[in-house]
Symmetry: C2
Subunit: 396 residues, 2 copies
């Protein structure tokens, strides 16, 4: 029983932790790439500046030449050498300038080198993943949107404050997944933050566009119409804004004709879309548990203990830290089973072998990652852990 | 007779003067264009510098972010807001940087605007014209190449000294017209000047390429071979240099087999290519006349006079300045027939109407200019001149 429980713990654990771990490896790669990129951008800037300095020198030379030559043309053209040099100046010499300094070659070359430089960067799919994780967390912990936007999440170090543009991007991910509940929340937050931004990180109309539409999709027609009017205030000639305005107006008119009252229509609802499982009591309990709420009272809780265990020579100098959680079935947590350096060593060795598991699709032989199957190949880790577990359990 | 002679003078005159005049108008346009161009280049440089400053700021921000984030990844990823912002940084934010600052748009736009900006610039054909004029002048006045290269031409203000690259370009025009005589002269001069240039205006091998070939074409095989060896010294792997080397070697070997002696082959001749007319005595006289040499003795020269003429009220305050040149037929020059300001006024009025005459080609309806027909449409000038001439002649 003990073994089963422990193995259960271990086989659940990789479903959560390695995701963080892969993200870590992935992000560390990105950070390395970022540093390299900074260096390359600077060397590109230097190269381009040299080109521009040369062009500026040429422009200055042109100007002073033009000014001195203007009043002097007769004398210049009288000497056929001067005349030849003057014509040459405007033909082959100018062509040389064109070919040497008036080209986007540096830029095009640099752009061509970027895919390789940013190879370690996360993909748009990763952005969606991070956004979904954030939204799920917001739901689970019932966090107010403005708190999240300030980065104030309990138990972890506060993050930088989100800009209006950050909120907008988060809302946009929600929008792209048909999640109008979060779209509404975050577009509203984007608007609020935008009001107070001294240097605007995004333009108002584009937020209003998304906000009005998600508001409409959540059933708030009058509010959607008002937001669209605000949008038209900013962009009176926007074609889609105009046609949306007309469409919402028509919907409201028809609803009124069908007997709906103003009070019924002029509300702002934002229902959370939940599938069957997420509407279940089990899911509610799971979320409550995540929040650290007690979902049931354990009458024997006062008898639960913690102790050091030294039942095998391996544990004499470093005893197991056992915390009993439940008596029947017997459940215990072993704290600090591995040292920090052991964890690190395993991560280092496993790192290069890790990639996100996928569902095998035979059609085009691609293996896409999915957001419901995120366990990792953890065979190697398991070998070491098995050793520990053997000592922990068999010699119990 | 007088009228005939005068009209002859006038109808010859446009063959020479208006060319200078058109060139003047043309060049003044170029100079105006040059000034505008200088301004536009500077504004392009400013725009590009702003882009680069922004990129540099971004690079610095990337570097400091990468350095501070590296040791801190665990804490960053523990907060899902930070994690989202980090992933966003490397996806949408980076894409914004790409689209906004990592583009050749400024450059491409500026390049696209250049044809209009440089509309007034002379064409490659004009360069050929100026080169041919210079070479013709060199021939006519029997000017040493090094004098011309120094811009030292008697009677006109000295021009700037020619660079090796200037000489090369002049030689190249000669080369393109199959004129190996001048090609040899000017490529040699280019080499000489190049030796003394501290910052080289052109590379040696390309001069040697042209010089060796024109030397060969002028019949100096051994010298051509030596020049090619010098070229191979600079560029040992140049394929054409190698095959030329072999070809010249073969020619020399065969010539020797056919009994030619070393002394016969090892000369440096540079015969001037002249067509039948240019070989005539008439042409020799024309060139001598240009040089101001006396081609015949006029026994009555001591009787020739200059006088003011006031034979009509129009000329009372401003008499004609008559210089008798010949008695039978009677030839005279009238000096200062028009004032400077009158000349200028005519030029100003005629300027916009002037273009080089062409030979009409029906095939593609284009009217190319040719270098043997350079007279201008001078109808308008003629009206005014006719008035003067009437007074000058009819009331004689």
């Amino acid at each position: 029983m003990v073994l089963t429980t422990l193995l259960l713990f271990l086989s659940v654990s990789p479903l959560v932790k390695p995701e963080m771990f892969t993200a870590l490896v992935h992000m560390e790669k990105s950070i390395h790439a970022e540093k390299r990129l900074a260096k390359e951008i600077r060397s590109y800037v230097t190269k381009e500046r040299e080109r521009l300095n040369e062009l500026e020198r040429i422009a200055n030379e042109y100007e002073s030449h033009a000014e001195s030559a203007m009043g002097d043309m007769h004398a210049t053209l009288a000497n056929p050498v001067s005349a030849f040099l003057l014509v040459k100046r405007f033909t082959t010499d100018w062509n040389d300038v064109l070919n040497k300094y008036m080209t986007p070659n540096n830029t095009n070359q640099f752009i061509a080198s970027l895919p390789q430089l940013t190879e370690g960067f996360p993909s748009p799919e990763d952005l969606d993943g991070a956004a979904v994780a954030l939204l799920r967390l917001q739901d689970t912990y019932v966090l107010p949107t403005d708190k999240v936007a300030k980065g104030e999440i309990k138990g972890v170090r506060y993050s930088p404050k989100m800009t209006a543009q950050d909120c907008f991007q988060l809302g946009k991910v929600a929008y792209s997944q048909g999640d109008y509940y979060h779209t509404m929340l975050w577009m509203k937050e984007a608007l609020t933050i935008l009001e107070n931004e001294t240097s605007k990180t995004i333009e108002k109309p584009i937020i209003l566009d998304y906000l009005a539409y998600s508001t409409y999709m959540q059933g708030n027609w009058i509010h959607a119409l008002n937001l669209t009017k605000e949008w038209l205030n900013e962009e009176p000639n926007h074609v889609r804004a105009q046609s949306n305005h007309d469409y919402y107006s028509k919907l409201i008119r028809e609803a009124k004709e069908n007997g709906k009252k103003d009070e019924e229509l002029d509300v702002v609802n934002n229902p959370r879309q939940l599938d069957e499982y997420r509407q279940s009591e089990e899911f509610a309990k799971y979320e409550a548990l995540c929040r650290g709420e007690e979902t049931q009272v354990y009458p024997l809780a006062h008898k639960l203990t913690c102790q050091y265990k030294r039942h095998h020579p391996y544990f004499i100098l470093r005893p197991l830290k056992e915390e009993i959680m439940y008596f029947d079935p017997w459940i215990a947590i072993y704290h600090d089973l591995m040292t920090e350096s052991e964890v690190k060593r395993i991560q280092e060795m496993a790192g290069p072998r890790l990639h996100r598991s996928g569902v095998f699709v035979t059609e085009d032989n691609k293996s896409p990652t999915t957001n419901y199957r995120t366990s990792q190949r953890y065979l190697w880790c398991l070998l070491f852990l098995t050793f520990l577990l053997l000592h922990l359990t068999i010699f119990q």
